[in-house]
């Protein structure tokens, strides 16, 4: 039963992610006074891409062709260990949150290599920028995770959520810092404004899009889909780690129903926050991003320190 639920949750991640993106795009269009596309537009895009012919450069190697599968596989694996509806997730024991960060890094590693495989200036530029941004974002991400792990004294996502649920609503300064930091990191890692703009193809600004410029057809579909799942994973991580209330702790129909409604509402709300911030804030210059990310890192570090100083007692 538990394994079935784990499978179901993974499927929800995989097939629900385009819907989340559709919702974000719709909100964004509305907030910018544009006529919105229907929320299932991303599904249509994916379907169209899957049916298109794949065009590959003469020079592309096998690495270029396996990368979409690795990127997609890594993200699906990550999605399978993040509790979405219910905390008792048997898969969560296989990989903890540090492994999760590692798998995101694995996907990025291959994507950057694939960008450099063709030998165009764009690919190398995208890879270089992506790795630069990632090397600043990852420590911040791990720092936020460490704060949480020290509070719950576990790095297992299910157990961490249960611990936080058990302790009830306590005001923890460390969590406020860490949640803010993690949100900033999530924006950077998923390539949203102000760090990257998924809608642009201007060489001065693009990061993620520059790496995947040579992809087409089903390869592009897999990479785009993986990016959508990644966005949803980060959203669920922020929501369920810091505001886990509503998630089912037992596998009854009622609890599951409540869990699904609550997570849907939370995701819709988070999307709204993202849309507002993307509408208000402009995209940053590349060399301003380190400041943004070091601020995120500082927040996460403050979170860890305030946990150590304020919450864990003992000061010498």
């Amino acid at each position: 039963m538990d394994w079935l639920l784990a499978l179901l949750q993974t499927a929800l991640f995989v097939f629900g992610a385009p819907l989340l993106l559709g919702w974000i795009k719709r909100l964004k269009a509305l907030s910018q006074n544009r006529q919105p596309a229907p929320v299932w537009q991303p599904y249509r895009d994916l379907r169209r891409l899957f049916h298109k012919e794949v065009v590959i450069a003469h020079h592309a190697s096998w690495l270029f062709r396996i990368t979409p599968y690795i990127v997609f596989g890594a993200v699906v694996l990550v999605a399978s260990v993040v509790p979405l509806l219910v905390t008792s997730l048997p898969t969560a024991a296989i990989a903890d949150v540090i492994v999760l960060v590692g798998f995101f890094a694995l996907g990025r590693f291959f994507l950057a290599l694939a960008g450099m495989d063709i030998g165009t200036a764009f690919g190398g530029m995208g890879a270089s920028r992506e790795m630069t941004i990632a090397s600043m974002a990852e420590p911040a991400m791990l720092m936020a995770v460490f704060t949480l792990a020290m509070t719950a004294s576990t790095t297992n996502l299910s157990t961490a959520m249960l611990t936080i649920l058990h302790e009830g609503l306590v005001l923890r300064p460390s969590f406020i810092f860490a949640a803010l930091g993690l949100m900033m990191v999530a924006v950077a890692e998923t390539g949203r404004i102000p760090v990257d703009n998924p809608a642009t193809h201007l060489e001065l600004t693009m990061v993620h899009e520059a790496m995947i410029l040579e992809y087409s057809g089903r390869y592009l579909a897999l990479i785009e889909w993986a990016a959508q799942i990644k966005l949803m994973v980060y959203g669920v991580l922020v929501l369920n780690l810091f505001f886990p209330w509503g998630i089912a702790t037992e596998t009854t129909t009622n609890a599951l129903l409540i869990g699904s409604v609550v997570i849907l509402a939370k995701l819709m709300l988070l999307a709204l926050i993202l849309v507002v911030s993307e509408t208000v804030v402009a995209k940053m210059r590349l060399f301003r991003i380190p400041q943004y990310l070091s601020f995120a890192f500082l927040l996460c570090l403050l979170g860890a320190l305030s946990h150590v100083i304020l919450e864990a007692g003992y000061i010498i």
Partner: protein, 669 residues
């Protein structure tokens, strides 16, 4: 029995050195007999080490070598057995590799006999260091290792920079060796005798124990390449032949780590908490600066050498955590950090050797070390490309390969900081963990650069374009290491349970729940705190991959090869690609104070447009102007002052002799 195997392997290695004297006349002797003997000895050493580790024996022997009243004590226990197995394994793999690789030197001015003799002595030295059970044997073996590796560094001596690197190496090795000798001296002074057993009994006051620790840390740290005394390492390691570089970076650094563990954890024993703090600082600084410098290198082997500094830093960080936890009364957590350090030592030996062998393969087929002139090698060296990719994934500590497991264990140890009472320590350890996280992320960037520039894209020069895949023995040796990297990543629990006997023996603490866990699950503290199952994860990868493949199989893909998109301008060339320097430029720009860099752009213009642009970029190690040059100047200043007594006048020298004699007579009477 394992001990005789171990001695047999040393005899075999020494015999290979002896046979090498005849190889200048008969090159086939080198390739088949000498290397064969080395490979067999390597396997024997591995077997001896693994045997001792599995049966947890403690075997000692006295050899009547050396001085009459001072026989050599040799001992093989679990700790030395573990490192013995590492040395043996890498010896086997590198000798296999050298069968094809050493053809490079057949028609060169460099002789096989030099290579064979000193390789044999070098490996014998390393093996003897691990067996030594008294200070005297240890120092003799240590010097044998240092001196013979000097001759390997300057093997290609016609190149002037190699000779300079060799001299620097020799100098630093001796400063370090002196420091180690002094630390033994203190322990001998307090104990009775040179044997390690006597040193263990020596009652050291905290002050003297700290002096021993400081001397050992400096001496072994210098050999291991810790910042800021690392500057010799990226000079010396890359200039040796590639399989020797693999031995030096993959194995000799581990011997230094073994020495440090032996002296500090085993011989001194009573650990003080501030030692842990010091090691934590130095280790974290080495890790971060090592990878930052590696990121800026454009020479493939120099990049790998700097990355060795990073990995040694990670190992010492784990050891620092171990000391901190042990000295504050948490031996189980300390043992965990200790295990993480051991496992990372093993992993680093595997993937660093693999990468050095890969860099050697590139150089063998294209005569190129400069990244800026490589590119597109994945088409020319298809097998090497796969093995090198595995090495890059492992060293960048990405799951599910082996580098990730040890890094994960270190993070798990660091996260137990809440167990400590001291608030300061609880603050410092998470910050160290953050530094490690930054290091890990930069390592990913660094190895994307190495692999992406060398193997991917378009070839940047003609001889790289015509490179050919290397021979069978070079591929086989890389394949062995790549498979091991994978296996140690997928089944870490088995290895770690075997290794658990080492901390149990050295630190006299049980490793807790860890040893009881199953082969499938890695649960360092308890299943509630953290668990990781690489094997199940791999199963997940296979299932997801298979499902995806099945689904996509439903509709035949319609793939068309076409020209690369060139924005409609027509014809991209290899020179338009991102270069290694430009890849690292954003990071260089962001963290510019780290490097001692000077950049000049010389632009010649006519009225409207630039005629020529000359761009020069020099990136140097900061430790040179900050540490080495001032010491050099000081030494020269002192030498000049002392030089005043040397007038070159015979009468003055006679006068010196006369007064010296007078003084001696006065003292004697």
């Amino acid at each position: 029995m394992p001990l005789s195997l171990a001695l047999l392997s040393i005899v075999g290695v020494l015999a290979s050195a002896l046979i090498s004297f005849g190889t200048d006349r008969a090159p086939w002797l080198f390739r088949f007999v000498v290397l064969g003997l080395l490979a067999v000895s390597g396997l024997t050493a591995t077997a001896a080490g693994v045997w001792v580790l599995l049966t947890n024996q403690n075997l000692a022997i006295e050899l009547a070598l050396g001085l009459p009243w001072l026989p050599w004590h040799l001992r093989l226990d679990a700790l030395s057995g573990f490192f013995f197995a590492i040395v043996g394994l890498i010896t086997f793999v590198t000798s296999l590799y050298a069968v094809n690789y050493s053809r490079e030197f057949q028609n060169s001015p460099y002789s096989y006999s030099t290579l064979g003799v000193f390789t044999g002595l070098f490996i014998a030295g390393m093996l003897l260091v691990l067996l030594a059970d008294d200070g005297y044997a240890f120092m003799v073996a240590w010097e044998l290792m240092s001196l013979s590796s000097y001759f390997l560094v300057v093997y290609q001596h016609l190149n002037e920079s190699n000779r300079r690197a060799g001299f620097l190496y020799l100098l630093m090795a001796h400063v370090g060796g002196l420091s180690i000798l002094l630390s033994f001296g203190v322990m001998v002074g307090f104990g009775d005798g040179f044997s390690f057993a006597a040193m263990r009994q020596a009652a050291l006051s905290p002050l003297w124990a700290s002096i021993v620790f400081g001397l050992a840390f400096f001496g072994f740290g210098m050999k291991a390449g810790l910042v800021p005394i690392h500057a010799w390492l990226p000079e010396a390691h890359p200039v040796a032949p590639s399989h020797i570089s693999a031995l030096m970076s993959g194995v000799m650094l581990k011997v230094a780590i073994y020495g440090f563990i032996r002296v500090v954890f085993d011989l001194v024993g009573d650990l003080l908490w501030w030692w842990g703090l010091l090691i934590l600082f130095v280790g974290a600084a080495s890790a971060l600066l090592g990878i930052l410098y590696a990121l800026m290198q454009n020479n493939s082997k120099r990049l790998l050498a700097y990355s060795s500094i990073e990995n040694v830093g990670i190992i010492f960080t784990a050891l620092g955590l171990a000391i901190l936890f042990i000295s504050t009364g948490h031996p189980v957590l300390g043992a965990l950090g200790f295990l993480a350090a051991l496992y990372h030592s093993l992993n680093h030996a595997l993937f660093k050797s693999l990468l050095f062998l890969g860099a050697g393969a590139i150089a063998h087929s294209s005569h190129e070390y400069n990244l800026e002139r490589m590119g597109g090698l994945i088409h020319k060296l298809p097998y090497t490309a796969v093995f090198f990719l595995i090495g890059c994934i492992s060293i960048a500590s990405l799951p599910p390969f082996n580098g990730f497991v040890s890094e994960w264990l270190i993070f798990q140890t660091a996260l137990q900081t809440t167990a400590l009472e001291s608030g300061i320590l609880r603050l410092i350890i998470p910050i160290t963990a953050a530094v490690l996280a930054l290091t890990g992320a930069l390592a990913v960037a660094c190895f994307v650069k190495l692999y992406g520039i060398a193997f991917l894209g378009l070839p940047r020069t003609r001889h790289v374009k015509h490179a050919r895949e290397v021979g069978g023995s070079m591929l086989a040796s890389q394949a062995i290491l790549a498979v091991l990297c994978f296996l140690f990543g997928i089944f870490p629990a088995l290895t770690l349970q075997t290794l658990a006997v080492i901390p149990e023996k050295i630190l006299a603490t049980p490793v807790g729940e860890f040893a009881a866990s199953s082969w499938l699950w890695l649960t360092p503290i308890s299943a509630d705190v953290a668990s990781y199952s690489p094997a199940l994860l791999l199963l997940g990868i296979v299932v997801v991959g298979f499902l995806g493949w099945l689904l996509l199989r439903l509709k035949k893909p319609c793939v068309r090869r076409a020209d690369t998109w060139d924005c409609g301008f027509g014809g991209g060339t290899a020179r338009m690609q991102y270069t290694a320097t430009s890849f690292a430029m954003p990071i260089r720009h962001i963290l510019s104070p780290v490097w001692h860099s000077s950049e000049t752009i010389d632009e010649q213009r006519d009225d409207l447009r630039p005629v020529s642009i000359k761009h020069e970029l020099h990136i140097a190690d900061r430790s040179w102007p900050v540490l080495y040059l001032p010491i050099l100047h000081y030494v020269q200043w002192v030498a000049r002052r002392i030089g005043v007594v040397q007038t070159g006048n015979i009468r003055v020298y006679l006068m010196y002799s006369f007064f010296t004699l007078l003084a001696i007579l006065w003292i004697v009477t």
